[in-house]
Structures are given as C-alpha cells and as structure tokens.
C-alpha cells in the first residue's frame, strides 16, 4: 500500500483504506446516516454520483485550492459515502460510470503532478502510482516520459484510435515517448478498472434510514441507462466484399473465411445456410466446409469454443476492411447497423 499524505488522499481518495480512514478521523458510518450536520456530505456524495452518471467529471469547489481547509475532508468523505450509497444501490452501471468519472478526475491530478517541475515530490508520487498500482515503469526524459514498448502495447491495445497504434508513436531504442497527458491517458482504463474493482470488493453495509432516500433516487437514476437497440439486416462492407469474392469464384483467404463464417453465425444463421456460400471457392469441399463451420460454431471440437467475429482492427490488419461512412466508428462488424431506439 502506498502511504498517503493529506493532499494526496484528497486527490486520489481511492488509494485510501476507507474504513480505516473514517476510524482515524473519529467517525462511524452511522453518524453520516443520522447526524444532520453531516447531511451536507451525504448530499455531496449523491451529487458526485449524479454528475458521474451524466458523464461530467466532478470538478466543483472541492477541487478549488483556495478552499483547501474545508474542502479536503469534505472531498474524501463524500467519495467514501458515495461508495456506500453505490454499494447499497447495487447498480453496476452506476458503479462503472462513477469509476470512470473518478478516474478522469484523478487523471487531471496525475497529469499536473507529472509536469509540476517545482514540486519534485508530487512528480515522484505520480510516477510511484504508475509503478505500484499499474505496474508501468515510466521515466522522465526532457519533456517526455518514456515507457518500454511491451508495457506500452499492453495498455495501448485498449484504444481504438489510430494515433495510439505503435506505428503512430515516437519509438526509439525500445522505448515509446509520451507527453504527460498521454502517459496518464494510457492508464485511464486501468485507473477506472482499479477504482471499480475496489468498490466491487468493498463490503456492503446494512441499510440505514438516513441513506434510504438517496439510494432510491440512485435506482431511479439508473433506469435512464437501459438501452434498447435494433439491428437492421444489412451486412457491413467487409462481409459484402467477402461474399462477392466467393460469388465470383475467387479465392478468399483463410482469415476472410473465418470472418465471414463467424459473422453469419453471430447473426444467427445456421450451418445449412452458411455452407453453400463457399461452393464457388476453388477448393470447395462440402464436407470440409461444414466441419469447419461447425468447429467455429462451438458445436464441435475439443473444448466447444464458440468463435467470435474478429474486430475491425484485426480485419484491417488482414487487409479485409472496406470501410464506408455507414460503418460509423464501430469496432466490430457485429455492431454494423445497430441503432439505439
């Protein structure tokens, strides 16, 4: 566990042991539920979740440096009580949204700590968070931070934007060069994952009357996030292209056949419907084709693995992508034509 000072706990409250912190400050959970003087903190905690649900980052007077004296404890307590409310509501969508918003807030601090040339201690602390919490060793080189390529790749593959691909990075001597902003952005997902896992691992306290009203409000808030989608029957251009190649009797690569079959299986088509598509292939053999589709479907094979349609990224790598504006930033062909109602 990283040892934390007052300032650090306010910036990165998720690093603190919640129960221990309350005890050290001489508070119990019941006090927050019953003491009218502490109601302000419960209100702040609710607001913190609400703004996270609306995908706003929680920047209020809490992060105002001139209000430091009162803001510090309010900041940490409202975080801890927010977790209590989330646990009591049990709504995962809210926990995830809250984790992401808190991660973004922490990102802001991490980034300013990394560039604070005047405050060596903050910089060291930020680098320590990278190392101890996220197992990423970053080193400062001039205005950049450098990270070994394998470490970079492990995190960068979570991004779908091309600018994060290794080919679009400054690479030198086995290291990737990143600005402070990019260094922090690199671990966003892990940061929110870390916060989320801490929340999920925390014990759920028993319900107190003082929290009931807020928890009810959270359940209502969560109802907004139920999304209904409808899928149009259209095929994405990569699939259309693969079918066209086969119809012309030309050879479709192994990865192309894999993509086509897994896509159609994913859309609920049967082996009887899919197999005839391959009949014009130069090496057509019905028995073999049916066997292979069956393997992909998970109906056969040693461990009954059902294979999923590859991602757009993978399809691009295999030169099978024929992107059109209709693709609309999807990351997997299965999402093509999916519309929110």
């Amino acid at each position: 566990m990283i040892s934390l000072g007052q300032d650090e706990i306010a910036k990165y409250p998720f690093l603190a042991e919640a129960g221990q912190y309350l005890k050290d400050k001489g508070f119990t959970l019941e006090q927050f539920a019953s003491d009218p003087d502490l109601q302000l903190i419960v209100d702040k905690a609710y607001e913190r979740i609400e703004s996270a649900a609306e995908e706003k980052t929680y920047y209020t007077e809490l992060d105002d440096p001139s209000e430091k004296e009162t803001a510090l404890p309010l900041n940490v307590f409202s975080f801890l009580i927010a977790i209590v409310l989330l646990k009591l509501s049990g709504v995962n969508t809210l926990i995830n949204k809250f984790s992401l918003a808190e991660a973004r807030r922490a990102e802001k601090f991490l980034q300013s700590d990394l560039v604070s040339n005047s405050d060596k201690k903050s910089e060291e602390f930020a680098i320590k968070i990278f190392r101890d919490v996220f197992k990423v060793t970053i080193k400062k080189t001039g205005n950049y931070f450098v990270i070994p390529i394998p470490d970079y790749l492990k995190h960068a593959v979570n991004f779908h934007e091309r600018e994060w691909k290794l080919i679009n990075r400054h690479v030198e001597n086995g290291m990737v060069f990143l600005s402070p902003h990019e260094s922090v952005r690199l671990i966003r997902r892990e940061l929110s994952g870390y916060i989320g896992s801490k929340i999920k691992a925390a014990n759920t306290p028993s319900m107190s009357d003082g929290f009931e009203d807020k928890v009810k409000k959270l359940s209502n808030l969560a109802k907004k996030f139920v999304v209904n989608t409808v899928v149009t029957g259209a095929y994405p251009p990569c699939i259309e292209h693969a079918i066209e190649v086969l119809n012309k009797g030309e050879n479709l690569s192994h990865s192309g056949r894999f993509m086509l079959a897994t896509f159609l299986l994913g859309r609920g088509q049967t082996i009887d419907e899919i197999a005839p598509l391959f009949k014009n292939a130069p090496d057509w053999n019905e028995k073999v084709t049916r066997y292979q589709i069956k393997q992909l479907s998970g109906e056969a094979g040693g461990n009954k693995t059902k294979y999923a349609c590859p991602s757009c990224e993978k399809i691009k790598s295999n030169n099978l992508c024929y992107i059109t504006p209709d693709c609309d930033n999807i990351i997997n062909p299965m999402q093509f034509g999916k519309k929110r109602l």
């Binding site: 394998p150 790749l153 600018e163 080919i167 679009n168 990075r169 690479v171 040693g302």
Partner: protein, 376 residues
C-alpha cells in the same frame, strides 16, 4: 498420395532422420513445449509432450512423420487440451515467405496441377486436358525469390535490433525448408505479449495504419519543419529516406506533398507500407501465441528440404545447404514444364517421362506433386 509414393517418401524420410540425429534436438525448456506431427496422407496430431532429444528421436522413428512441429508457447501442461494448458509465454516468431513478396520472377517458375485429372501444365485458365477450372498452383522457387526473402529478413532484423532494442544474441534465423525464413526472438520482454498486442507490433513492422499527423502532416497548417528528417530514429527516418531520397530533395518534395494534400499523403503512406518500406511478414503467424512451428532439423514435406538454422543468412544457400537427402539415383515418372536447381544442378523440364535422377531431386518433385515413383 499414391501408395508407392507414400512408401518411398516414408522410407526416405526415415533414412534422413536416422542419418542426421545430430541435427534433431528438442529446443530450450523442452518440457514446457507442445509438439505435434503430421504423417503423409493424415491430419495433424498435436498436444504431445516430450522431454529429451531421445524422446523426440523415438517419436520420429516410430511414427515416420512427414512434418514435425514444436510450439512457440511455453505451458505448464503442454499435453492437455488448449484451454487447460496454462499458457505462460511465447517466443515472438516472424515468417517471411517468397509467395508474399509479389516478385516478378514468380510467374516464370510456377506451373499448375488440375485438381480433377492431375494434369500438369503451364499456367492457363482451364486444364488443357479435361477443361476443369479447379486448379492448384505449384511453384518451384528460384534464387531470386530467396534473395528477395533475405532482403526482407535483414530489414526485419534491423528494426528488431534498433527500434525494438532486441539483443542480437536473442535472434535466430532459420530457413523454413520451402520458400521462406523464420525469425525467432527468444528470452525477450516481448514474450509476455498476447495476440492483440502482437498484432499492433505487426502493424508497426509492416508499416500499416500510419496516419499523416504522425509523419509530419498535421490537421491544420502543415509546416515544412514538421516533416521527418533523414536522420530521425525509427520509421520517421525510414519514411524520410523513402519520400525524399536525399537531403537535397527534401524541400522540393515537401512543397509537393503539401500541395497534393493530406488525403494523397495518407494514400502515399499506405502505398509505402504495402509496396516498399513495410516488412512483408505473415501477420497470422506472428499473432498466434498457440501455434506449433516446424522443428529445426526436420524435413519439410512440401519440398523434402530441411528446416535449418542459418549462421550467416547472406551467404546461406538453401538449395545446397538444406538439401540433405542422399544422391542415390532413382527412377521416377516426372512432369514439370519448368526447370529448377538443386545442389548446383539444373533439372527439367520434363514432359510426362520416366527419368533417373538423384534421390534428393526425386523427393523434391514428389513433394511438390509433380512426379511419382515408378519402382516397387
């Protein structure tokens, strides 16, 4: 494959293994690897675990395989089904094959074999004998193919040692036994990478998915200074060299690039990746962390040549050094409209005739499917 051919090849392969035990070794950390083999006319048998050279040689002698494989992955339980093997790490392996280089010589040494009637002829739209359009291509690669692949291998090694900072002593190159080379990277921090991460690395090596912003053409107001310089490290330097040719042409070229616009520059980068500076590795091979690879020292049933480690790739000649089957004369019936060269001897063309040639050449043609045994 015909019964006689099968028997002949099995005997020959067995003799090779018997004579060349010195070349047959299990790799490092043998107990953590998965092994597999194929026999002539059968599918793959895998999920085998072996411990010593002796185990491996015993497997060869008892099963008479046509091809032998070993995993790049290291597992706790290599003989269990894939999901239960407990993957630990995998060597980073690259495969560069002549067929992926689009060399102009290829059409000169490729013929076709009809799937329906087995007639062998020069490449045309339909089978000259039965008019079927189900046709397979047979290529007998030439020295030019090998030189092309070697050039790619050297470019790859340069990127591995400079950009990726992989130690020379952890890189091993071997001839695949047919028409390509494998580059092995062992004991590196890249071993831990999963398949998705390896795919990003592949795009790096192939120079794929590059965006104009990274290579000097920002969204707004492109300036001359933002474009890469010839001395820049990594891809910036290589792009500059390819784009400008020399320092003196830099300024003039940038003027043109800016006036042609960003879309044209994007296309130019893509084209460079595909046709010039990108290294032509096989993506599917490198991204697979559960693959089994032909074992060094074993025969390749697509050619009868040996997969062999090369100390000095520039001097290495696969058609002499990896051709290790003996030269006892054998009679075969051969049909090859194209010539090929093995051990500095040129063979062919043959039009459906009975010939007597050294065993290594006979095996080569039988493995390529353009000859069959007349004996027995």
């Amino acid at each position: 494959m015909l019964e006689n051919d099968l028997k002949f090849l099995e005997e020959t392969f067995k003799q090779y293994y018997f004579d060349h035990f010195d070349l047959i070794h299990v790799p490092d950390r043998p107990k953590e690897r998965e092994y597999g083999y194929k026999k002539f006319n059968t599918g793959m048998i895998r999920h085998i675990s072996l411990k010593t050279d002796k185990d491996l040689r015993l497997m060869l002698m008892t099963n008479l395989p046509s091809d032998v494989f070993c995993s790049n992955g290291y597992y706790s339980f290599p003989n269990l089904p894939m999901a239960e093997k407990d993957w630990k790490e995998a060597d980073l392996i690259f495969d560069i094959d002549a067929k992926d280089l689009n060399l102009s010589c290829r059409k000169d040494h490729t013929c076709m074999k009809c799937v329906s009637c087995a007639e062998i002829s020069l490449v045309q739209d339909t089978c000259p004998k039965c008019k079927s359009n189900k046709l397979g291509l047979v290529s007998l690669p030439c020295q030019n193919c090998i030189s092309g692949v070697k050039k790619e291998v050297l470019n790859l090694v340069k990127i591995l040692t400079s950009d990726l900072q992989i130690d020379d002593k952890n890189i091993r190159i071997s001839f695949s036994g047919n028409e390509g080379f494998h580059v092995y990277v062992t004991n590196s921090s890249y071993n831990q990478l999963g398949s998705t991460e390896r795919r990003d690395l592949i795009d790096y090596i192939k120079f794929q998915s590059a965006i104009p912003e990274r290579y000097g053409f920002p969204k707004n107001n492109p300036s001359r200074t933002s474009f890469p310089d010839l001395g820049d490290p990594g891809w910036s330097g290589r792009v500059a060299k390819e784009l400008f040719g020399s320092k003196s042409k830099r300024s003039k070229t940038i003027t043109k690039v800016i006036s042609d616009g960003k879309v044209a520059y994007q296309q130019k980068l893509e084209e460079m990746g595909k046709n010039s500076i990108g290294v032509k590795i096989d993506s599917n091979v490198t991204s697979d962390i559960h693959r089994i690879f032909r074992l060094e020292g074993s025969l390749n049933s697509k050619s009868g040549l040996v997969k062999l480690a090369c100390e000095d790739i520039e001097k290495f000649n696969p058609y002499t050094e990896a051709c290790l089957i003996d030269d006892k004369p054998v009679e075969i019936s051969a049909s090859s409209p194209i010539k090929f060269k093995l051990k500095n001897t040129t063979f062919g063309p043959y039009t459906n005739e009975k010939i007597t040639i050294p065993k290594y050449a006979a095996v080569y043609m039988m493995c390529k499917g353009i000859a069959s045994s007349t004996s027995m």
